[in-house]
Assembly symmetry: C2
Homo-oligomer: 226 residues x 2
């Protein structure tokens, strides 16, 4: 069985779960507390990061963008990177934008700050969560929601006519914040309309069923009407 | 003319220069002080990062790994990502290892710390360079040199039989530190032998001719015998 080592609130793991779902590839999820650096896991991935995927033939694939390139090349059919060169560039650019810029500006400030209080991961030893940092993250989040809205008003999906890794990357980061109830959707109608379309897809359903012990999601997290 | 917006001591820009050189694609270099956020440049790349490549047909390509995937798909011939699936996974994994892990553990501590004193980029406003941070970077650097040596003793190139993005990524980060004279090559024979082979390639020559005004390279930086 194909296996994905993951953490439920890792945007990078969520992106791979969505990609596997869109491609209708079955997989088992293995919860991996990466911060514990278990020897068996470290021998799979010396970088100690999730996601790590072991494919049916035993191929070990590491890093979310590498997993997705691998899935695209190995399992054609539903493509998450468009065919034309200019569109491939745009889809990969936007995926990197969310995985690097949104991650640095928003996810680290708003999600990791809160998570560190919860499960004593490696960040718990760093400075305690700061409200100033969370507020700063929120102001960056608003700029990203504006960008998503602007893109979604001119294109069917973020990178063009078809659903792509750009949508999956953006939605993965947002869905983690949404679990905590921290996305001010009501003020961003166009971004919300785009997110509802994603949230309605079968690939999204497993993410909406995630429940982290001792840290239930906000009430509207699994709802399509919010 | 194909143009690459770059900074001379950015490992990510160097990786693209090496890729273009290996593929024998001509290009003009445009120095871009990214930290000044010039409006013309920000309209090309709202993320404000280098490298940015404008191809001959006007296609704008952003982020080093996206540029290299684009070059591989658009200009086949000399391939920097191997053909077989398992080797593609390994080459991309190691490229990401150096671009993420080496970058975070070594480059940010040893290169950016020193550069911030020089040209007053955005990092200059942060805490002043700390010797503790540089020492910490050096200890990580030693672990990475051990890894490179171990890989180079079992494989012709880092990811397998052929030169790949793994070699270009590792060499790009190391060449920036080497400019400053900060790589303890003499204690890492296997890694040094691998680096000499790379340094001897025509694609590397332009990097060895880089001279940053007011900050000349260490004496042996351009030499093949060091």
């Amino acid at each position: 069985m194909r296996t994905l080592y993951h953490l439920p609130l890792s945007p990078f793991c969520r992106k791979v779960r969505l990609a596997l779902g869109e491609k209708r590839l079955e997989f088992a999820l293995a919860f991996e507390p990466a911060w514990e650096k278990m020897p068996e896991f470290m021998s799979l991935n010396p970088a100690g990061t999730v996601p790590v995927m072991i494919d049916e033939d035993g191929t070990v694939v590491i890093y979310s963008h590498v997993i997705i390139e691998y899935l695209e090349e190995t399992y054609p059919g539903t493509n998450l990177i468009p065919a034309a060169a200019a569109e491939r560039v745009e889809a990969r650019r936007l995926a990197a934008w969310f995985d690097e810029k949104f991650h640095a500006e928003v996810t680290t400030r708003m999600l990791y700050e809160k998570m560190s209080r919860r499960h004593g991961g490696p960040r718990a030893v760093e400075a305690s969560p700061s409200m100033a940092s969370i507020r700063e993250g929120m102001s960056y989040l608003r700029a990203h929601l504006d960008l998503i809205g602007a893109l979604a008003e001119h294109r069917r999906w973020l990178a063009g006519d078809t659903l792509s890794i750009a949508d999956l990357a953006a939605a993965s980061h947002l869905s983690c914040l949404d679990y905590l109830g921290d996305v001010p959707w009501s003020q961003y109608e166009a971004a919300k309309e785009w997110y509802v379309r994603l949230k309605s897809r079968p690939s999204f359903r497993p993410l909406l069923n995630d429940i982290i012990p001792g840290m239930p999601p906000t009430r509207y997290y699994p709802l399509l009407d919010f």
